[in-house]
């Protein structure tokens, strides 16, 4: 995106001598210090930590003949400010990890969308007649097998969704984001559109899984043939 290539960045990258580099760097810092401080304050836990992280960002951006900034110049798919926020946040996190150790994460990886599956399983069970569902606990190993099969069926149904829909369900049920935030991330015009899409997806998953549930609630045909 050539139109998003800022003059301050161009001057830093094109400076021919040390004095020109210093002047260009000062102008660059003036232009972007507010944004970088904002990132550092959000990532650092207190004032001192944030200021250390800010200094680290500047040092890393300027280090090695501005090789990080040159990477943007070579790529340039996004707006510079968006790219700068991503890179500054990563630098902050690296710095804080080096200095204070790795923070304990709340979630960890999705593990194939366990939370989404759990939510969908709950949602499905609300709509199935309990009398038709075998008591999994009472069925012992057979019940466990049914539960595993159901979970596999749900995983397969989720895998069959397109990536955007899978991400939508993950943001809603795994990350617990509001419809407004999801709308901003995935470019839905209003939260209502997010709700509608989620409802449509849940309905189609339910429709796809309901026949399987009915089949499983019937006695297995293999048992009948073995009794003969």
């Amino acid at each position: 995106m050539a139109e998003d290539f800022p003059a301050e960045l161009a001057h830093v990258l094109d400076a021919s001598d040390a004095r020109a580099r210093d002047l260009a760097w000062s102008a660059f810092v003036n232009a972007y210090s507010r944004l970088l401080l904002h990132v550092a304050r959000q990532v650092g836990r207190d004032y001192d930590m944030a200021m250390d992280a800010y200094a680290h960002i500047l040092e890393q951006l300027r280090g090695d003949d501005c090789h990080r900034l040159r990477r943007f110049a070579a790529d340039g798919r996004s707006k510079f400010t968006t790219w700068l926020v991503v890179v500054a946040r990563r630098l902050c996190l690296d710095y804080l990890r080096q200095r204070y150790g790795r923070a304990r994460r709340n979630g960890g990886d999705s593990g194939g969308g366990r939370a989404v599956r759990r939510c969908l399983e709950d949602s499905l069970s609300e709509r199935v007649d309990l009398a038709t569902v075998p008591d999994v606990g009472a069925l012992g190993p057979e019940g466990e097998l049914i539960a595993v099969e159901e979970s596999k069926a749900l995983a397969a149904a989720l895998a069959g969704l397109n990536p955007r829909d899978r991400l939508l369900l993950t943001l809603r049920f795994e990350d617990d984001l509001s419809a407004r935030e999801i709308g901003a991330l995935l470019a839905y015009p209003t939260p209502f559109h997010v709700y509608r899409r989620i409802s449509t997806l849940l309905a189609s998953l339910r429709a796809g899984l309901a026949p399987r549930r009915h089949q499983e609630s019937e006695p297995p045909p293999l048992n009948r043939s073995s009794e003969r």
Binding site: R71, S78, T82, R90, G108, L167, R196
Partner: protein, 192 residues
């Protein structure tokens, strides 16, 4: 797409930024979304970057595209009586802005239209099998939807759009190889 190495399988910074800006192509967007659906670390990064940015970059981008398209339509309509034809639309494509998604022509983003005169026009997409047009109201309720092989369509007269209200429309492009792409949602307001 991701860092090529066993140690760091996450999305590159440039790709995350481009996704937030809405400037990745359809194929890359699908790959990014597939990765994000499984990687909580990259998802968290996306969420926090979006929170750190003050404006909806993606929306601005769409407005710029819509304004560009509207200007192109205006030029064509002034230049040739009878309005845009299919060949006109392909010449607009040839004019070549780098938008990777399927762009719309009219109603442009934020346009104000007369209730009885809503006509939807969008660019043709190479390899398309059909287009699905969806019109929703402010609450996201689907007011009207239809499929078309053409790149313009007018709702039946029985479809009632209310004066003074905001509506959203989108076109899903179904490709012959089974994939699909979309214009995303665009808003217009019906004149009171």
């Amino acid at each position: 797409m991701t860092h090529h190495g066993l140690r760091d399988p996450h999305l590159e910074a440039g790709l995350v930024a481009a996704y937030v800006d809405g400037s990745v192509g359809t194929a890359d967007a699908a790959k990014v979304e597939a990765h994000l659906a499984l990687c909580s670390q990259c998802r968290q990064e996306l969420i926090e970057v979006r929170r750190l940015l003050p404006v909806t970059a993606r929306r601005w981008r769409w407005q710029a595209v819509a304004a560009l398209a509207a200007a192109a339509v205006l030029l064509l309509m002034v230049g040739r009586p009878g309005g845009p034809r299919v060949s006109d639309r392909s010449s607009i494509r040839g004019g070549g802005h780098p938008e990777p998604l399927a762009p719309v022509l009219t109603p442009a983003e934020g346009a104000r239209v007369r209730g009885g005169a809503v006509r939807f026009v969008w660019h043709s997409v190479p390899g398309s099998a059909a287009y699905r047009i969806t019109l929703t109201d402010e609450r996201g309720d689907v007011v009207w939807t239809t499929e078309s092989a053409d790149t313009s369509v007018t709702p039946a007269t029985t479809i009632h759009v209310r004066g003074g209200h905001l509506y959203y429309w989108s076109v899903d492009v179904l490709l012959r190889d089974g994939r699909s792409t979309t214009t995303g949602f665009h808003s217009f307001r019906v004149a009171p």
